[in-house]
Symmetry: C2
Subunit: 116 residues, 2 copies
DNA sequence: TGCCTCGTACGATACTCACCGTACTACGAG
DNA sequence: CTCGTAGTACGGTGAGTATCGTACGAGGCA
């Protein structure tokens, strides 16, 4: 069996446990927002090491954990890699339109600050 | 002259200085979210003392300052009262749809958690 | 003028958090 | 089995913040 998912488990909040405050808090950090934006563009799963964040590995782990525990992303081990994906469906069910408007707001702000 | 605005000035970020991260951070506190929701419903200005927050006056002052400095609300002195209003236009211009989807998300979560 | 109310300022406290380094684990490849 | 790579765990640090109490200032009212 190739590309088998590891048995290591990661704690995720269920859909009903996701809290708006936690989601907003998770997204209020520029580093985490960047991760979420790239995941949104990728339309698939990305490994942690795909992201080239300007912090150490331990800090990266920390940010991914905040995103996972707030319910913004799901994580699964695949071999030595840990794949990350947006929880689009859960977020859309709980907070329709929220993720999209946040992503749009981030894109607009980036364009605006770039002076374009 | 009645209802004259006091000469005391309050520092507000200009529209172009408002940052998405700061707005999301301001909204990630339940107390501040409650204030913003009531302001949205009121469709006008409310004094700080209108809100019956379960904290002391000094803490209330702190939360209103966070909201003002992040650009979410505007504040103006009117006599001894300090009136608060949402900066709907500025937020809509910078981040279209964001405020509405956040308010909707908060309303949905409240309904959901109330067990309705 | 004096008082009351609304809100501020300031100092203190306890907690959270972003970040680091080091030591460690898990897995796949050779 | 050994090594390299991906990521974790843990402990620590400095900054920010949510909270309080007390003392203060500004404005309206009697």
């Amino acid at each position: 069996m190739t590309t088998a998912t590891s048995s290591r488990e990661l704690a995720h909040p269920e859909r009903g446990e996701i809290r708006l405050e936690s989601v907003l808090h998770a997204l209020s950090d520029p580093m985490r927002m960047q991760v979420v934006r790239e995941l949104a563009q990728a339309e698939g799963e990305l490994s942690c090491s795909f992201f080239d964040l300007p912090v150490t590995k331990s800090t990266t782990t920390h940010h991914f954990r905040v995103l996972r525990e707030s319910g913004v992303i799901q994580q699964v081990y695949r071999g030595t890699a840990k794949m990350n994906g947006l929880r689009r469906e859960d977020l859309a069910a709980l907070f329709p339109g929220l993720l999209d408007s946040v992503l749009d707001a981030a894109a607009r702000q980036e364009r605006r600050l770039a002076g374009s």
